[in-house]
């Protein structure tokens, strides 16, 4: 063992961190998120222990739905990263391909991923825990559709950031969606959050879906209000994020970043 060779590798990695905010953020990011998520879950269970009917029903349902959102986001971002890793972006953007066609293709990929993952997860939940996701009933489909659109919104947003800031922002592909997890109220109701965070969560379509899911499973109440909120927010945010993607493409072309993003 030679110390100089070991330190050479350490220095090689430290060089990366010296100039990369996303990498530094990532060190603190996951512990912080774990703390926030599990903190709110603990708070929820401690405060409402007697009123929480069937943890398994809530948590497994929430977990499966959250994974659909996550895969929808990954379907967009990973498809873009695949092109970046293959240094294929120049081939694509110098072809007649339009940004709208690029987005549509990644969204289609995302739907395929979500469909496959959902079937597998639902099957496993049924097999291992006798949990049937279909107990959510007729509301399952509108919930899933809205979560997929929320996943697209986060995916397009993340893709734009990677396009703008290059490969060093690549970690966002996996981490960005989890920034939305605490305010998506996946495993606990919105009322557990501090008031200021509730205001932010209100603007997140996913939070309304998970609130709706809990309402259906808990009381059987039709989640019309939650769905209406989610649909309106998704519509507005999708339009906004696609417009931002177009702006980012134009910015990258103006600054010559499109041809350098894979380097």
């Amino acid at each position: 063992m030679k110390l100089h060779r070991i330190t050479a590798l350490i220095v090689r990695h430290l060089y990366l961190y010296r100039r990369s905010l996303p990498r530094i953020m990532e060190i603190f990011y996951w512990p912080f998120l774990d703390l926030v998520i599990w903190g709110f879950i603990t708070l929820y269970l401690a405060r409402y222990q007697s009123q929480v009917p069937g943890f398994v029903t809530f948590f497994l349902g929430a977990l499966i739905l959250w994974d659909m959102l996550f895969r929808a986001q990954q379907g967009i971002t990973i498809s873009f990263l695949e092109e970046l890793w293959a240094r294929n972006l120049m081939n694509l953007f110098a072809s007649p391909l339009k940004p709208s066609e690029f987005l549509t293709a990644t969204m289609a990929m995302s739907v395929m991923k979500v469909t496959i993952v959902s079937i597998v997860m639902a099957g496993c939940a049924l097999l291992f825990y006798s949990y049937n996701i279909l107990i959510v009933g007729v509301w399952l489909m509108p919930f899933v559709l809205n979560l997929v659109i929320t996943g697209w919104i986060i995916g397009v947003f993340t893709t734009s950031l990677i396009m703008r800031f290059g490969q060093e922002a690549e970690v966002l592909a996996w981490s960005m969606v989890f920034l939305f997890q605490p305010i998506s109220c996946v495993f606990y109701p919105m009322e557990v959050l501090p008031t200021w965070l509730q205001m932010i969560a209100m603007a997140n379509p996913a939070a309304h879906i998970f609130e709706g899911m809990r309402a259906v499973l808990g009381t059987g109440a039709p989640p019309i209000g939650n769905l209406a909120w989610a649909i309106c927010l998704n519509g507005a945010l999708l339009v906004g994020v696609v417009a931002w993607f177009y702006r980012t493409v134009a910015y990258c072309k103006d600054h010559g970043l499109l041809v350098r993003v894979g380097e």
Binding site: E82, E83, A86, R87, N88, M90, N91, L92, F93, A94, S95, P96, L97, K98, A250, K253, D254, H255, G256, L258, V259
Partner: protein, 247 residues
């Protein structure tokens, strides 16, 4: 005189304070091969990137087939393709799979036949089923050339197309380019650091230095104008001048 397929007027690109391309104007006529020469940093790559719509010009205009690139992007790019030693293609796909993707992207009809023809033409039969990651650099160059020919373009931008090929394959590629130009009226913008190749291939040559056109004409006209023995000497003159005047 025939209408130019490509007309570049006063093309300028600035990145902050740095001017990469400065008021460049030129034309390419049907079936013409135009050589774009210049030392590293002269603005060749930025010019090609602007012609491909990858970089937005700061000023000036690009017209191809009589259409403005800024307003007719899809229509123009459907009839244009490029190849460069410096680009890659999806590594996990086979050579044929990559060609199929490109063909679909450009709306090529009868894809199977077209892919078969191009694989045969570029002598790629032995590695057509190979995963792209496993290609040698010469095979990779042939794949990017195949990608460029596959879509039957009217204008081809070639950035050092023979840089990593052995002399035999490089010679075949040059013959193929000349044949395509003869048979289909293909116009080519060609860059290379191989001056003999540039002399052989180009009908006209444009020399770029610090983003400006400093010489234009046939290879012989340029050699005579600067009183040099060959194109390489002219190139060295411009390259050294550029290096000396760099801050």
């Amino acid at each position: 005189m025939s209408t130019p397929v490509l007309k570049v007027s006063d093309l300028t690109k600035r990145f902050g304070d740095f001017t990469a391309v400065n008021g460049v104007s030129f034309e390419i006529r049907p079936g013409e091969i135009l050589g774009l020469l210049g030392p590293n940093g002269a603005g060749k790559t930025t010019t090609i990137q602007m012609l491909l719509g990858l970089v937005t010009p700061t000023a000036g205009s690009i017209h191809m087939f009589g259409l403005d690139l800024s307003t007719h992007r899809e229509e123009i790019l459907r009839q244009v393709n490029f190849s460069s030693t410096y680009i890659s293609m999806p590594q996990s796909l086979t050579v044929e799979e990559n060609l199929w993707v490109v063909a679909r992207l450009y709306g090529v009809s009868d894809i199977a036949r077209r892919v078969y023809d191009i694989v045969k033409k570029l002598e790629m039969e032995e590695f057509r089923c190979k995963i792209t990651r496993k290609l040698s650099s010469g095979q990779m160059t042939r794949l990017t050339l195949a990608k460029a020919f596959l879509t039957d373009p009217r204008i081809l931008f070639l950035d050092e197309p023979t840089a990593s090929l052995d002399p035999d394959i490089a010679d075949k590629i040059r013959s193929l380019l000349k044949e395509e130009r003869r048979s289909s009226g293909l116009s080519i913008l060609y860059t290379s650091h191989n001056m003999r190749e540039m002399e052989e291939m180009s009908d006209r040559i444009i020399f770029l230095q610090r983003g400006r056109i400093v010489a234009e004409g046939t290879a012989q006209e340029i050699i005579d104008r600067f009183g040099k023995a060959d194109l390489e000497e002219v190139f060295l003159k411009f390259a050294r001048e550029q290096r000396q005047s760099s801050p």
